[in-house]
């Protein structure tokens, strides 16, 4: 990506998507990973979570950040991790956010959603819960997320339903093994009064290690697209699949990469990244502990200024589907070593095939919090071999940003 010297001026009126390309005064979709600590070790974890970072924001720092979200009118945050409920002050921070008019949707593997907790969550409109499940059956889910995780997720949903919580989310990362289960996922969501949310597997964090074996095959992408077109109004996707819009009819949603424009991530130590799927030094804009706080990073970071311009060059701008597809996901391109202004690795027109087959440098991660030893419930992959126990070789380093290397 080249640094734009002179940014074009924001147009007056017109489509929202064109407005969003120029960024907003505050994010719409802010993800806050509260901790890298996790009781599980999912093979595809986007944030390479496992162990707590000793430099995590303190309770007081978290509260100050919530105050700032309130001042900036960040209406709600998506809290993730790691497993956020592992943080001892999680429930205290949840209450604090609600008191300060910051809604919270938090993602959980469900292990800690007891009937008592479920009742507490159901008591306020300000809190929404998203339970992760990556297979509609235990034999598909557990090899990815770990032994017993299927049962734990269903137990959590049963507890939420019994507590009267409505429209909580059942969140599924679409893989090669579960594309055939979309109707079953929908049936599970319906059974618990939940809303189905489907998202894209991106080669981020540990996901990079398993992406080649797990990402949907081309014919499955078509199957997914057709399913989304048929069921679009009943499922949420977080605008994950706009690269599939190149098949024809645009999918509902904004259809643009929101990274640094309307989307960002605050990680457990306060680092601000352009997107939750772009945890890499290349996309780090600053830290909330810096002088001007989160507002300063969001509004002034040079990286974000750079991202807030429409794409004008690159191969995709010549493509007939560019208006719908926009070249796909920046993070997916980056972590597969493809040029950021070229096609998405899962380009439905097959335009990334040559580049993927050719010589490319995969940047690797710039941080890793994976458990060093075995974990209770550790996934026993049938065919997948996560490589995160091995150190990266020097050639895995990004040409764009120095990588501090892995900790193992």
């Amino acid at each position: 990506m080249t640094l734009i010297q002179e940014r074009p001026a924001r147009p007056e009126g017109g489509r929202l998507v064109d407005q969003f390309e120029y960024g907003l005064d505050a994010p719409i979709c802010l993800t806050w990973e509260l901790t890298y600590a996790c009781n599980l070790a999912c093979v595809h974890c986007l944030s390479s979570s496992g162990r707590r970072d000793p430099d995590e924001l303190s309770t007081e720092e978290c509260k100050a950040l919530i105050d700032e979200f309130e001042r900036m009118q960040v209406f709600y945050v998506n809290i993730g991790g790691g497993e956020p409920t592992v943080r001892p002050d999680f429930w205290e921070l949840l209450d604090y956010a609600v008191e300060h008019h910051v809604g919270v949707k938090f993602s959980t593997n469900g292990f800690r959603i007891t009937p008592e907790r479920a009742a507490r969550l159901a008591a306020t409109d300000y809190v929404d819960v998203q339970v992760s499940l990556d297979g509609a059956t235990a034999d598909v889910n557990d090899p990815i997320r770990g032994a017993g995780t299927y049962d734990a997720a269903l137990r959590a949903m049963a507890n939420l339903q019994a507590a009267g919580m409505k429209d909580f989310k059942l969140s599924v990362v679409c893989t090669r093994h579960n594309i055939g289960q979309l109707d079953e996922f929908k049936a599970i969501a319906d059974r618990y009064g939940a809303q189905l949310r489907l998202t894209r597997l991106r080669p981020s964090g540990r996901g990079a290690d398993v992406w080649d074996e797990l990402h949907p095959l081309p014919e499955q992408q078509r199957e997914l697209y057709d399913w989304l077109v048929a069921n679009g109004d009943q499922v949420l996707t977080g605008d994950s699949f706009f690269h599939l819009s190149a098949y024809g009819e645009a999918l509902p949603g904004l259809n643009l990469c929101g990274a640094g424009r309307v989307v960002c991530l605050v990680d457990p130590v306060g680092d601000v990244y352009a997107c939750p799927f772009a945890i890499h030094d290349r996309f780090k804009a600053g830290n909330v502990r810096d002088g001007s706080g989160f507002r300063g990073v969001w509004q002034e970071a040079p990286l974000f200024q750079e991202l807030r311009s429409p794409q004008t060059g690159g191969a995709c701008t010549q493509c007939s589907a560019f208006d719908a597809c926009r070249g796909g996901c920046m993070a997916a391109k980056f972590f597969t070593g493809l040029p950021l202004d070229g096609p998405d690795p899962e380009c439905v027109k097959g335009n990334a095939a040559t580049a993927l087959a050719g010589a490319r440098t995969v940047p690797g991660t710039s941080q890793d919090h994976s458990h060093k030893g075995p974990v209770r419930n550790q996934p026993v992959p049938l065919t997948l071999m996560p490589t995160r126990t091995k150190p990266a070789s020097a050639c895995d380093e990004s040409p764009l940003a120095p990588s501090p290397g892995w900790t193992t």
Partner: protein, 106 residues
């Protein structure tokens, strides 16, 4: 997420309306975001003037007064009444029985 724009409903010029108690507006360069904390729905107001009109609703006797306040001339009114109708359908603004400013504590 919804955008305002198409609706079957036009707001009546003589009625009194106000922003719903559970809704907050956040100004943005293109207009504003409106978020309803009850329904957790986000909507987009695509013009600054519409934002001004919505804010004015609560302190004017009727819709016509709010439009006057913001200098919305006759030819533009149908578009504004349609946009307000969409906001009303989405529950973002609500009817006021009387003509006084409503208590907006959520």
């Amino acid at each position: 997420m919804t955008t305002t724009g198409t609706t079957a409903r036009l707001l009546d010029l003589g009625e009194a309306w106000t922003l719903s108690g559970s809704v907050e507006l956040r100004p943005e360069p293109f207009g504003a975001l409106a978020y309803d904390f009850h329904t957790r729905r986000l909507s987009f107001l695509k013009s600054r003037r519409l934002v001004d009109v919505v804010r004015a609703l609560g302190s004017r006797d009727d819709v016509a007064g709010a439009l006057d306040d913001c200098g919305v001339a006759a030819p533009e009114r149908p578009a504004y009444l349609a946009a307000l109708g969409a906001l009303a359908d989405g529950g973002l603004i609500q009817r006021r029985a009387d003509h006084s400013q409503e208590d907006r504590t959520p």
